[in-house]
């Protein structure tokens, strides 16, 4: 994708990747999940969030990642539900130690050959029935988001439908703790980097922020938002591109989410890859494909 120039207003809304580009994104996402799964298998009681985040970083660097959309995150225990999170720095990994039967979330966003991934992986060290329930109930969310986007519903309406389904499920929408209460954000290609990035100020890729900023400027003029939430800013038809979607459900100090890329094209939408850990888990439990996809919200 060419670097956007706000001065030269493109006709095209959003971004339509070529099939080669899609392969690049898919490879990056697969690698990101592989990292999360590998680190999840290594987690032991007593480990800290910082250690879990660092392990993801090391694993990904060892597998050819030189750049990041954001530094890897890890949340343990009630921090998986973002309990009491008020300011952004609270998302950063802490010295919270993992215990037996504690839920965790790993989140990493490597840029592989210029292709960005942004994934979330929720699990537990041992057993946690509440977490199991939440993970199960993410399945209808994933099915509903895709179906509503396919129907061409306004993006804020889809986000509201997610809110409504979470309310019916009896959980809390914890992605509302993120800045701008985002359900998803747009992801684009970045200039590939040959050498590893040494430091990562604020744990967030500056390139990403500047790209997002440029996208946002263009988007604003075109009347849409790269930050997808329930607000009026997202009150527009689905915009083509790659969206990192992350519905995050919380219940009594236990939180879980999935995060993966949704591809929206001019007239259709699909998940970049259906071969992801949470879908595999649902298939094994007979929960996927979802039989009665809830279709909430108001038809446009």
């Amino acid at each position: 994708m060419p670097i956007l120039n706000p001065a030269a207003m493109p006709e095209q809304r959003g971004y339509i990747p070529t099939s080669e580009e899609l392969e690049g994104f898919r490879a990056a996402q697969k690698l990101a999940y592989a990292a999360a799964e590998a680190v999840a298998a290594e987690l032991k009681p007593g480990m800290t969030e910082k250690q879990a985040a660092a392990l993801q970083e090391t694993w990904l660097r060892d597998h050819g990642v030189n750049d990041w959309l954001h530094a890897p995150f890890a949340w343990f225990g009630d921090r998986t539900a973002f309990q009491g999170f008020k300011v952004a720095v609270q998302f950063l990994p802490t010295n919270r130690r993992l215990e037996e039967n504690m839920p965790f979330i790993l989140d990493n966003a490597p840029v592989l050959n210029g292709f960005t991934a942004d994934i979330g992986y929720a699990g537990v060290l041992g057993e946690n029935p509440i977490l199991d329930r939440i993970l199960d109930d993410l399945a209808p969310q994933r099915a509903m988001i895709l179906e509503l986007i396919r129907q061409g519903r306004a993006m804020n309406d889809v986000s509201k439908a997610v809110d409504k389904l979470i309310l019916m499920q009896g959980f809390e929408p914890r992605h509302k703790a993120y800045p701008f209460e985002v359900l998803a954000h747009q992801v684009t290609r970045q200039a590939p980097r040959d050498k590893p990035r040494r430091t990562m100020p604020f744990k967030f890729g500056l390139d990403f922020l500047s790209t997002l900023g440029q996208v946002a400027l263009v988007a604003r003029k075109q009347g849409w938002s790269p930050l997808w939430n329930s607000g009026e800013g997202s009150n527009h038809a689905p915009v083509p591109g790659l969206w990192a979607v992350e519905p995050h459900l919380g219940f009594r100090g236990v939180g879980a989410k999935f995060e993966e890329l949704l591809v929206i094209t001019e007239d259709d939408a699909y998940w970049l890859d259906d071969d992801v850990p949470h879908v595999k888990r649902w298939k094994a439990r007979g929960l996927w494909p979802v039989k009665d996809v809830p279709l909430l919200g108001e038809p446009a």
Binding site: I130, R133, L167, M168, Q169, G170, F251, R252
Partner: protein, 582 residues
């Protein structure tokens, strides 16, 4: 009833059976100073469905009296049970019930490793702890330096005075022949509240020889207790006014029994005589639950869950209406976390079941019921179900309600009818039916009615809703006065604008569907902006359950309307003339 004699290692035991021997067998073991006849009323009630076996233990009734104290050792008493069941039912498995010493000695059969233990399907124990468990109980609390642990030991020692007395030579046995046997029925009647105790012809003998039971077993078991675990499910029935066996003795029992159910009954020690129907019903319910592999709701509720024992509402059952969403659902979760079991009621059965399901994940036993709270019959069915299945409710939260906006004149008769049915009649039914149950069962409890800040705030555009909520508030105050003597608390909860979804379902009277939809969207947005979560009301409800205030105001709106109506009624009336709908 059939009578026969069974020989157990030289001691003849008199055995009595009731009912068809092909049916599932239940063995009832009597205590001290009794004989088999203490079980007669219960045995007759159980005989319809079961083959009931009782016997006079050695030294009592028509059975032989061994001479030596050592002949009353626990292992021999357990061998007697084995001899009795082998003669009556061969190798079949059976259910076991014991009262007092019958319970103490049956613990030996239930917990001592051996073939007999494998054959016991379930055990119902009444007022007779395992002496080994008691030994550990004493040891733990004697070594514990805290004052409360010492107090418990002291309390039990006080009510066990007679055990010391039984160890006195000559005096104890001779008391039974010096007239105590004749006085015993009167003692049972006055001290133990057994209504018509029948004189037992062998009372003197039962009393005199049974003393050996204590002498042969207490000292060594208490000093050298063994680690004794039960393999079968155990139902512990605790008469809470027991003068001899303190309820505190059972607080560690879950350590020895994996599947333990505990039911308290407001009664004295001799419950098989004073409450035979209840005891027979509980035995039957437990035995059939074990046989079927699925326990009734009441037993699920009675299951001892050690991890929840310390919670403030442990053992309580709460009924919550409107539990499918908003304040009701948040309250369900809050009470579940505080230890209560729940009946989640809603007109939307899926939503109610969802609340129940999540409450179960929080460790509560929870059931869901689909009920229209405005229907007298439906509420009656609910109350009956709760009483029958769960033994009644301790906490009732009348929360279900609907919103309605519009003036007195705009609101049609049907709309008036509809809102009063849910908001007022629902609370009337819930309060009356469950309060009556509590009164009848002499159970203390708590009724919480969810009113609203609108109860104090007249407004031209919120006539029906405010009227219904003001009525709920007044009803709660009256009921509180009425039930104060019965130890039943009543609280009115008055929340402000809580984001519950009530705004998106509010009826705007006299408007088209489109107009209503627009109003709802606006109102919902306002509620969202207010960002006052149902959790805060749930927190206030939990606090009310624990402290029983007459009125609980939640949120700034509630305080404002309350204060205005009290101290600035004129201003409140000015506000009433403003249209507050969005």
């Amino acid at each position: 009833m059939n009578m026969s004699t069974v020989n157990s290692a030289g001691v003849d035991l008199q055995v009595f059976t009731y009912g068809d021997e092909k049916k599932q067998p239940i063995v009832l073991v009597h205590g001290y100073p009794d004989n088999h006849s203490v079980w007669e009323p219960v045995a007759k009630l159980l005989a319809d469905k079961y083959f009931v076996i009782t016997y006079d233990v050695r030294g009592a009734g028509g059975s032989d009296v061994p001479r030596k104290q050592a002949d009353f050792r626990m292992a021999l008493l357990s061998a007697d049970l084995k001899a009795v069941v082998e003669s009556c039912i061969g190798e079949r498995a059976f259910h076991l019930v014991g009262h007092d010493w019958g319970s103490i000695q049956s613990w030996e059969s239930v917990t001592a490793d051996g073939p007999l233990k494998q054959r016991i399907l379930s055990y119902t124990t009444i007022s007779g702890p395992c002496l080994d468990h008691m030994g550990y109980w004493l040891r733990k609390r004697t070594l514990n330096l805290s004052a409360s642990a010492k107090a418990k030991v002291f309390k039990q020692a006080l009510s066990s005075w007679y055990i010391g007395f039984f160890h006195l030579p000559v005096l104890a046995p001779s008391a039974w022949q010096g007239g105590l046997d004749k006085l015993w029925p009167k003692y049972l009647k006055h001290r133990e509240q057994v209504e018509e105790p029948e004189a037992n012809p062998t009372q003197g003998k039962d009393g005199k020889h049974g003393v050996q039971l204590y002498r042969a077993n207490f000292r060594n078991k208490l000093i050298n207790p063994e680690e004794r675990h039960a393999a079968c499910p155990v139902q512990l029935i605790v008469p809470t006014r027991d003068n001899y066996v303190g309820t505190q003795l059972f607080e560690d029992l879950h350590y020895w029994v994996d599947e333990l159910y505990r039911r308290d009954i407001n009664a004295n020690h001799w419950v098989p005589l004073s409450h035979p129907e209840k005891i027979a019903a509980w035995i039957e319910e437990f035995v059939s639950g074990v046989d079927k592999g699925k326990m009734s709701g009441a037993l699920q509720h009675a299951r001892v869950r050690p991890e929840r024992r310390k919670l403030p509402l442990y053992g309580k059952t709460a009924v919550i209406t409107g539990a499918g969403s908003g304040i009701g659902r948040a309250t369900a979760f809050k009470l579940a976390e505080a230890g209560a079991d729940l009946v989640c009621v809603d007109i939307n059965d899926e939503a109610a079941e969802r609340t129940a399901e999540l409450s179960r994940l929080l460790g509560a036993s929870a059931w869901s019921r689909k009920v229209d709270v405005g229907s007298a019959q439906a509420m009656q069915r609910l109350a009956k179900w709760v009483e029958k299945e769960l033994g009644g409710a301790d906490i009732v939260i009348n929360n279900a309600g609907i919103g309605m906006a519009g003036g007195v004149l705009d609101t049609s008769t049907q709309d008036w009818d509809r809102i009063l049915k849910v908001n007022l009649w629902g609370v009337i039914h819930g309060s009356r039916l469950f309060a009556q149950q509590m009164v009848d069962a002499h159970r203390s409890g708590h009724i919480i009615n969810v009113a609203s800040a609108a109860a104090f705030a007249p407004n031209r555009k919120l006539a029906a809703y405010s009227t219904s909520k003001a009525a709920v508030y007044m009803l709660s105050e009256c009921l509180r006065g009425e039930l104060a003597d019965q130890d039943i608390g009543v609280t009115a909860i008055c929340p402000g604008f809580v984001a519950t979804g009530i705004a998106s379902n509010t009826v705007y009277t006299g408007m088209s569907d489109e107009e209503q939809a627009a109003k709802r969207a606006k109102a919902d947005a306002l509620y969202q902006r207010r960002n006052f979560s149902p959790d805060e009301v749930a927190e206030a409800i939990l606090k009310a359950v624990l402290t029983n205030p007459a009125l609980s105001l939640v949120g700034a709106e509630a305080w404002t309307t309350r204060l205005l109506s009290r101290f600035a009624p004129a201003l409140s009336r000015r506000v009433a003339r403003i249209d507050i709908t969005p």
